[in-house]
Symmetry: C3
Amino acid sequence: MFNTVVLVFELIGTMAFAVSGAVTAMKKEMDIFGVVILGLCTAVGGGAIRDITLGCTPPAMFTNPVYAVLAIVVSVIAFIPAVQSGISHSGKVVDALMLTADSIGLGIFTVVGIQTAMEALAEPSFFLLIFVGVITGVGGGIIRDVLAGNTPYVFVKHIYALASLGGAVVCSLLWSVTGAAPAMLIGAIVIIALRFCAARFRWSLPRAKIK
Amino acid sequence: MFNTVVLVFELIGTMAFAVSGAVTAMKKEMDIFGVVILGLCTAVGGGAIRDITLGCTPPAMFTNPVYAVLAIVVSVIAFIPAVQSGISHSGKVVDALMLTADSIGLGIFTVVGIQTAMEALAEPSFFLLIFVGVITGVGGGIIRDVLAGNTPYVFVKHIYALASLGGAVVCSLLWSVTGAAPAMLIGAIVIIALRFCAARFRWSLPRAKIK
Amino acid sequence: MFNTVVLVFELIGTMAFAVSGAVTAMKKEMDIFGVVILGLCTAVGGGAIRDITLGCTPPAMFTNPVYAVLAIVVSVIAFIPAVQSGISHSGKVVDALMLTADSIGLGIFTVVGIQTAMEALAEPSFFLLIFVGVITGVGGGIIRDVLAGNTPYVFVKHIYALASLGGAVVCSLLWSVTGAAPAMLIGAIVIIALRFCAARFRWSLPRAKIK
């Protein structure tokens, strides 16, 4: 039962990040193969970094192909309407799609990262859990942006990583209290809510400029 | 005998990718050390990613220095005539050199990646073989382009990764039929041929633009 | 005693690289969270690459949070005066700060990388020691520059990696003669001295331009 919930979570997160990678690639006018590869790297990249960090090799993306296959299929599906409709998508629709896909992926992957660390290590420290969660959540997006030649989104926009961090703390604290499934669900909801609120109300953090 | 063939293959691929990294660095007007480092990273980067993915640590590039030494020597050799002749190379010659070096490296490293996975894992899945092959083939070039500040070639040009993928499928399918050596040879030839044809006949894949 | 020296070395190197990452982020006008993340990645990135390369998973940054916590605190402290004083820092002060922080980090992390390889492997080859040292030294800076969208410093400026390489050779050669602590100290001093001299006297290496 719990494993099924985690699997469904992971599949949704994979689809969400694949869409965000594919849209980024199409904005850069990449061809269909570039779109698929960027969708794939975004979707499975965070998990691959997590597995290599934890010493779980080969990473799950290689031993269980369902995530990669799903990411490829979703990227192709995202490509087709874009070609058919030409350049007709307005910037607002695309941006809203990106925000939604990216938020859901961020929320789910962060808590799945924590769950993977819980399973892989005998006594993971609180600190390690938070780190692995955030890396799993933001890793795919960083790979996407670096490969596309953009400054990683996590560095410039609102409180992106802070949302992941907040949800990771909530999820890790709840884990021993409520058990795994509620902790993951609440953690993911916290992240998605923080991320949306930050975008909606234009929350921002102080910044300094050095010349 | 077979190991010798694999070694010769690897040495040729290493030299080819070192040249492609060194030429990229010289196009960016890096100094001799930048040229050597970029040649080195391009030549051994794909294999390092492969070994870390498979859990073979430390990667072969560290335990067996022949690849790294060769890459360094080749990068220096590629640097010397460029300095002597100044800016006299025409763009066409350099582009043809890059295409040839990069195609040979792509072909060889893809099939060597598959061979490494075959040796490292007891029962590698077909899916894992393809993935590890393609990652070994395109990984060095992605590192090269990201470090040089270019959009990775694999995302923008023709059917680069598709060639690697096609050859990886051919090599993996032939492996149990013909044995390792013929499978690797045919796989590499398929990749190099696809890559050249794509460049020669300007094969391209559909692309979408989102505003 | 020796372990304490190594720890102090590592803490100083961590602070130095955290400053260099934070300053880079502020130059790019990132918000406080971007500044902290870039400071953190620069400070612990080289060590994480080293540990994953050596197969020491999870990397020390996860199992021993002191480095990450220190990097975060230093990044925040570097941020505060920058905000208060607005854009008043002159370019020269910032550049001198960056040079100093980066040189110290480079020197310390290179020799700490060698020491880690000495402990992790039974009989590390001379070649592996040099490589792991240089990767630990320059890895964090490469991650910093790639994430910030800059061409990695190691490729464009003076003899940056050559300094790390020279000190790594000195440290590895001295190791069996003088013991660990003097070898590390002398190696780090060589690197910092080379780095400063290169910047001070504008040492540079030949470069070629290909059109």
